[in-house]
Subunit: 415 residues, 2 copies
């Protein structure tokens, strides 16, 4: 299929974009892209490609932006239940302790998720996956982390793999057994850390061999934050995971700077995520590393918190900046990377071009998929969006609606 006459074809070609390089859209006016067998076969001007492929079935994109599918590199897609009542209690002025006493907080999601069957988990997550796809996300990372015991965590992982097989949203899985300290280990994060290292991660490795051997290993992630896992515990978990062969991610510096970002750089993690309270030294360490810096602006927005990731400082340090939704039931139930782009323009002061690159090719780099998705270049997956607008800058400028008209995943029109 030849999609032609796009008012703007954004290729995002040339690989991940570090520091001041961020924002290269590879824009071709009156552009065209040839899709064959689920892959991009050629990109260029409409004149050029229509002459070269005269017999190809065509799709006229006149007046529309055509661009790669959005990549969401940080989501907690699979959970059971919701926290709508807790949201209301917070607005009524209830304290965190009162909400916990009323059965709220992450423990309520853990309870509901533990009680759910894998089919129930899939059914609830599928609605969110469909919404993500409608909003233009064609590949998403997704984490476990609401089980906090081995079998529940593995059930969440099974749900993720089955959702990925179902498609069309492509899911890159992450194991987040160390998302929080469960009630069984209250006051004993070290005890839980020891269990994660001694039992959970080896069990995951074993389970993977038996159930998903043909796939690359999932990421292992940890929540390095006061009230969750300190730096030494985070290091123990990530080092154990690394020794078992898993690629790494980390939740760092959302509320406090414990040194998680620097640890990520040191261990060669694919990404360090949140990065609100990251120190200048840690930003510099990230800038020198191959670790992507993933900003999650929906989380402060969701909390009504004015503190966002210092994106400009990350770019000045030469960092590889990516954007993600952080989709989760507590702080950010948001399925739209378009809205993430709108937030990034206003609160991270990115231009639309920078935010788009951070939500495509750089987001792909943050989940180790820059070779497959995130740009329209020959040989890459044919994950393509056709927008209802003729100028890419409407992404960011407009907010609260969905500018994606058509979603193509691996060459197939899916919405």
């Amino acid at each position: 299929m030849l999609i032609h006459s796009a008012s703007q074809l954004l290729t995002l070609s040339g690989g991940p974009q570090r520091g001041a390089d961020l924002g290269r859209l590879g824009l071709i006016p009156d552009g065209a892209v040839l899709l064959r067998e689920g892959r991009v076969a050629a990109v260029g001007s409409s004149v050029e490609l229509r002459a070269a492929y005269p017999a190809e079935p065509t799709l006229d994109a006149a007046g529309h932006v055509v661009m790669p599918g959005l990549v969401d590199p940080h989501t907690h897609l699979v959970w059971a239940g919701d926290r709508a009542a807790e949201f209301e209690l917070r607005l009524q002025g209830k304290t965190y302790m009162e909400i916990m006493a009323a059965g709220g907080g992450i423990v309520s999601t853990v309870r509901a998720t533990r009680e759910a069957t894998v089919e129930e988990l899939i059914a609830q997550a599928r609605l969110r996956a469909q919404s993500m796809l409608r909003h233009g996300t064609t590949t998403a990372e997704a984490k476990t982390g609401y089980g906090l015991e081995t079998q529940s965590e593995l059930r969440q992982m099974e749900a993720l793999l089955r959702l990925d097989e179902e498609g069309p949203l492509e899911i890159v899985p992450t194991f987040l057994g160390a998302h929080a300290v469960p009630a069984e280990y209250a006051g004993d994060p070290q005890g839980y850390t020891d269990m994660v290292c001694a039992e959970m991660l080896p069990a995951l490795r074993e389970w993977w061999n038996q159930n998903a051997g043909r796939r690359p290993l999932p990421f292992v992630d940890v929540f390095c934050e006061r009230g969750a896992f300190d730096l030494a515990q985070s290091r123990a978990i990530l080092q154990t995971a690394k020794d078992l062969g898993f690629p790494l991610k980390i939740h760092a510096d959302e509320f406090d700077n414990l040194g998680g970002a620097r640890l990520a750089a040191e261990l060669g993690a694919a990404s360090a995520d949140h990065l609100v309270k990251t120190s200048a030294e840690d930003i510099a360490a990230l800038g020198r590393s191959q670790t992507a810096a993933v900003a999650l602006p929906c989380t402060p927005f969701g909390l009504g918190d004015p503190h966002y990731t210092p994106a400009k400082a990350i770019l000045e340090a030469g960092g590889l900046l990516a954007l993600a939704s952080d989709l989760n039931p507590g702080t950010a139930w948001c399925e739209s990377m378009q809205f993430v782009i709108a937030l990034a323009c206003r609160y991270l002061r990115l231009t639309p071009a920078q935010a788009i690159a951070a939500a495509t090719i750089n987001a792909a780099a943050a989940i180790g998929r820059a070779g497959q998705v995130g740009s329209l270049e020959p040989g890459k997956q044919a994950d393509v969006l056709i927008l209802s607008v003729s100028d890419y800058r409407h992404l960011g400028y407009r907010f609260g609606s969905n500018l994606v008209e058509t979603v193509i995943k691996k060459g197939e029109v899916v919405t």
Copy 2:
């Protein structure tokens, strides 16, 4: 048609909700609503209504919230062109003067709008009206104000009336000839004020008699702000409009407190809108008046400005608080009242129930339509939403997506 088995039927019955009264949803669990000839004929429990109307065609809303259509009481729906390039320039650090020099700002919208035919204005606004409807807005106020000369303003008004006739979005028109001082009167707001009073408003009255005599007169609005019209000029325009029989509105205290809110209360305006910098005295004056206080949280959000309408103070003063989108090409291209609700929860600290009431029955009051729309009560228009969720609190809690599944306008399913 009998819509039954709604997990929650929100009636919003009992009229507009002042002060601490805000947030009465009139919630009926397992609720039903009977629609006949475009009107609400009955509301009640599903058991009750299914027994009373056994032969009625049914629509099963199990697992869904059913509620009145959202009302957006402040939009600038009709304009030509866009300001996406200006949005990018702002993020690149360009100053307002540089943007003006590059042809940006409201003057660029005025230029494009003056050059557009009424058909072009309608075609561009129709896309926005359709998006508003998909997001659950069934009635919207909409303003002229990008013509700033008599014939262009009347052409915008013609576009509004034709869009309203087209439907299904119902449009309540407002004349905003005094939106800004046009280039022809640069530095002479008083000269333009005199022209508005002496020529424009009488011409509108005459035009209305000839072209829309069967309709109620439109609102007349003015932008009372430093750089636009001062308090005396605003008073002159509104008093002239009042003497001609027009109902009134005002843009007040967005950036500066000039006393516009108190003027609105004094003149009996239907609403005073923006109200970010309103003084305690002016809030008290609004609280004692029949003038609705309309908060527009998309505008500070769109600008990345942390200053929002002091909603709590307005409620404490007994005010009638409503929410609107302020849809416009400069600061807030947002077509979703659901997103307005999400902002109101986070930045105005309203609960979902309060925000929903402010976006339905109180929004209807702000445009003088509380007798027709904004609640599900016998005799009112059958403007009904069916949400994809079972708990109303998902409005506010979730953001960036569209939770409206079905929109019914005057008894007809329209999306």
